[in-house]
């Protein structure tokens, strides 16, 4: 099970892999497989494996089975080596001259069910046999090899044993018979796993759970066999009441990789159980979802978040939520918090909170348990959704939030005791992280800025600036706040213009604020863009005028994709009811109209996701 203290969990050792996510097109494998050396297998190695294969074929006890299952992975590596070697040789005769025991070895493996049940093992074995088949046999050795290969394959696929003589009488075709036997056997085993533990902690007594480890080991080669899926699900979901009811690590790894490569389908609860048992599989799922979010052409739809099962899993198991958040923290620290990642974290947390609300009747986990590292005073204020509060209270609420956060940052900056500096920085980071998780309030702040008076902007602007620039590196914050106010002023003026033409100097200043600069400007252009789009949507100005402004500005600075993104996320929020809904319909129309406009604009290649 997952440890409860998030900071010390093993996941932190994977932090260094969570970098450059924007450049990744696929999640990096968390476990790098060693490349098998492309050298020829030696006769000694072959002898070793042949002896093993003989051993497994002769003995039939649990030890032999365990040995076969433990060695399966290395055996597959060896088979790959053999296959490469066979393909490199110019003829079968030569291959067999170099490795005379090869035929015997492959022949024995054909009758080892662990190798033949496993998808990779089977594939490698068959490919080795094909490799030894000569299209144009040139001598007796090759002719014999060809005959032998055909014979073995025929036997493998069609041989009938005693039991099948009976089946013949029942008029069942062999293929259906084997399928049915397998299904029934899986059902038998599922039942025996369902039996509750009876050993009451007495380690000397035999327990029904003893079988579970052995069964999980046996299922390692079966992870890609669809009929075995119910058994695998049952194994994952069985109650861990007994010390002996452990699942083999090989099993968990195999299930994890089969599930992530979509070769195995599991029930929802089985997937959640897998994540509970196996940390790498959870991490991989999170990274995969994140990658999905980053490659999506807009803000990730809620449906996709739900389908990943991660929010639900987090709601069911607090420990999973803690791990997921740790991953988010690492990513945000490393990649310096890109806009998409921040949005994703906010959307994910929102989805999570909705799942928790659905689960409330089952388990009641305290907020503190879910967010142990966040400043407790900010928890409830930030987690409360805007919809849970009267709209008139929003501004006051945000002012309170803003001043609380300001206080926190000031304490961090002005603290003169060096030893606790990192502690205070930690507090600021956690406060910021919580804000990112509850980004709905940031968006409300942006929206309220549109209808604010100039003298009311300060706290909201501060909040916005803090969201985009959590650290006061180089003490730029003062400058950033000034720039922010400037931007607001420009926007306010621009969108208040009643008659055309639009003042060029205002436009230009705005464009400058929005355009990518050679050195990073003190204020994030995305902050300005967000503000800009919100002005266009929420201000009580004619749609055509707003549209014109939007077009002119974006024409010059090129952030069309970014603007589209903001509009999509606004739309999502509207659908969730988080916006000022005095005239929801009108806002919807405006959003749609602006989206239309943007679609028709020429898209300059603009790095929107900076």
């Amino acid at each position: 099970m997952l440890p409860t203290h998030p900071q010390s969990h093993p996941g932190s050792c994977f932090v260094h892999k969570y970098v450059h996510l924007d450049e990744m097109s696929q999640p990096q494998p968390l476990i790098q497989l060693p490349q098998t050396a492309e050298r020829a297998p030696s006769a000694g190695e072959l002898r070793f494996w042949l002896d093993k294969a003989v051993c497994w074929g002769q003995a039939d006890g649990p030890d032999a089975r365990k040995d076969a299952s433990l060695h399966l992975s290395r055996l597959k590596d060896f088979l790959q080596q053999v296959l490469t070697h066979i393909n490199n040789m110019s003829s079968t005769a030569e291959t067999l001259k170099r490795l005379p025991l090869l035929g015997q070895f492959l022949g024995r493996l054909c009758w080892n069910p662990y190798v033949t049940a496993d998808a990779t093992g089977r594939r490698l074995l068959l490919q080795c046999l094909w490799g030894l088949y000569s299209e144009h046999p040139g001598n007796a050795v090759e002719r014999t090899a060809n005959q032998w290969i055909r014979k073995v394959l025929c036997q493998l696929a069609t041989e009938e044993d005693d039991a099948q003589a009976l089946m013949k009488k029942m008029d069942i075709p062999p293929k259906d018979y084997h399928l049915e036997v397998l299904r029934k056997m899986v059902a038998l085993l599922q039942k025996s796993i369902g039996k509750s533990c009876s050993c009451l902690g007495d380690t000397n007594q035999r327990c029904a759970c003893d079988n579970i480890l052995a069964t999980s080991e046996a299922c390692v080669p079966l992870v890609t066999c669809p009929e075995a899926a119910p058994l695998i699900s049952a194994l994952l979901q069985q109650q861990v009441t007994c010390v002996r009811a452990a699942l083999s690590e090989d099993f968990l790894d195999a299930v994890s990789s089969a599930y992530s490569s979509r070769c195995l389908s599991l029930e929802e609860q089985a997937v959640v159980s897998l994540w509970c048992h196996n940390l790498p599989s959870l991490e991989e799922a999170v990274l995969r979802l994140l990658d999905c979010a980053l490659t999506y052409s807009g803000p990730i739809p809620q449906k996709q978040l739900e389908q990943s099962l991660l929010p639900k899993a987090c709601a069911q198991h607090c420990s999973i939520f803690l791990v997921v958040n740790d991953i988010f923290r690492s990513i945000l620290k490393q990649a310096d918090g890109t806009e998409c990642v921040k949005y994703f974290v906010g959307a994910f947390t929102g989805c999570f909170l909705r799942e928790v609300a659905l689960q409330q009747h089952q388990t009641s986990v305290s907020l503190k348990a879910m967010f142990p590292q966040s400043p407790q005073s900010l928890l409830l204020p930030l987690l409360t959704r805007p919809t849970e509060m009267p709209q008139q209270a929003w501004r006051r609420h945000l002012i309170w939030l803003s001043s609380s956060l300001q206080r926190l940052t000031q304490e961090e900056e002005h603290g003169d005791d060096n030893s606790s500096r990192s502690g205070r920085f930690h507090t600021v980071f956690e406060a910021w992280f919580l804000l990112v998780q509850c980004s709905h309030w940031v968006q409300v702040a942006v929206q309220l800025l549109v209808t604010s008076e100039p003298e009311d902007c300060a706290p909201l602007l501060w909040l916005l600036t803090f969201y985009h620039h959590p650290t006061n590196r180089g003490h730029h914050r003062a400058l950033q706040l000034v720039r922010g106010k400037e931007a607001w002023d420009h926007l306010h003026s621009l969108f208040s213009v009643l008659d055309p033409p639009l003042p060029i100097d205002l436009l230009q200043s705005l464009v400058t604020l929005l355009s990518p600069q050679p050195q990073p400007p003190p204020l994030s252009p995305l902050l300005t863009l967000n503000l800009f789009v919100n002005f266009a949507v929420f201000l009580q100005q004619s749609l055509s005028a707003s549209t014109e402004i939007v077009q002119m500005v974006l024409d010059r600075c090129g952030l069309v994709d970014g603007a589209r993104w903001v509009l999509s996320s606004l739309q999502i929020r509207m659908n969730q009811g988080d916006c000022l809904s005095s005239d929801t319909e009108r806002v919807h129309l405006r959003i749609r109209a602006l989206q239309n406009t943007l679609t028709h604009m020429h898209v300059a290649s603009s790095p929107a996701k900076e």
């Binding site: 039939d60 649990p62 089975r65 069910p113 662990y114 033949t116 049940a117 998808a119 089977r122 594939r123 068959l126 094909w130 088949y133 299209e135 005959q147 055909r150 394959l153 025929c154 493998l156 696929a157 069609t158 005693d162 039991a163 003589a165 009976l166 089946m167 013949k168 009488k169 029942m170 008029d171 069942i172 075709p173 062999p174 293929k175 018979y177 084997h178 399928l179 049915e180 036997v181 397998l182 029934k184 056997m185 899986v186 038998l188 085993l189 025996s192 079988n211 052995a214 069964t215 046996a218 080669p221 079966l222 066999c225 009929e227 075995a228 058994l231």
Partner: protein, 331 residues
Amino acid sequence: MEAVLKNVAGTAELLAVASLSGEVERWEEPTVSRAFQWARYCEHLCRRFHDNPAIRRVIEKQLRVTNHGLRAAFAGYGDVSFSDLYRCQHLLLVGLLKNPQLPISVMKILFDAEQSEYQEVTGYCSRIIQCKSACKVLSPLADSSAVGADAEVQAEMLMERLGALLSRGGEARHILDSVPQGFEGAAGHFCVVIAAALLMKKNSSQDFLLDWLQKEQSVLEQMCSSLPSALIIELTKKQPKFRDAFCDLLKKWASDMEYSLSEGEWIQTRRNPTVSFDRLTEHFLGLFETCPSVRVDVEEELNALKMSDGDFDVRGLSVWGDLLSVFNKSV
């Protein structure tokens, strides 16, 4: 009907070509796929007309004609019967794989793991191997009873099919009647399967099976000779009818015994394989332990028989007397 007969004849020809002719050299993936489709079609026909004796006869007649022709055309041709058609795909597969002219490329397709548009054919053999191997991997774990997981599973299938047939009012005897008799391999396994079937949760087919067993003394005898005592005891505990049949069998075995002066022991002379006197008494005593009420009845019966033999207490004169004296010693 015409079309059906034509297709059946065509499929039989197809099977012959697949296994015996060099035509397969030119077969490729689409051809193989079509061949399997025809085979599947025949299997479907079989299942459909299984309970229709009239149509079945017509099809069998057609097959006789076709067989005759194919025998003349192909050396080494083996006749195809109606019941063979249940496993038509399997026959096709066996024929193909055994045909030395089959191109290796076709074999590769059958064993391939990748997906292709000819879903039924690609990896056909690979799937079979996967299933068989998975069973072998799981079977030792499911061995919770004395009969083993394989027999348990097969017993379940047997009972299901008997049940289905009986509920349709069809003939079920033929399944059991045509099982290979004897003492080797398949027959021995069949005994285990029957035992497993009788040990299952109570179901309606078990009565049918028990009735059949009582009529088929040879199978019953084989079961009681080859199965381990513990298993037989289980059976007597669970199935009263079996217990009675078993008891009768033991008495029959006893009555077939003759006393051999040279060996100083009761032996069976006319049976094969034989049951020893010791084993016989073991069986009896095991039976008594689990069902004490039987003991009273049996002892009464044996006493009566002993008296009809002259009621002597000397060893070697009456098998019944000797049995009783062994029983009395073990009280």
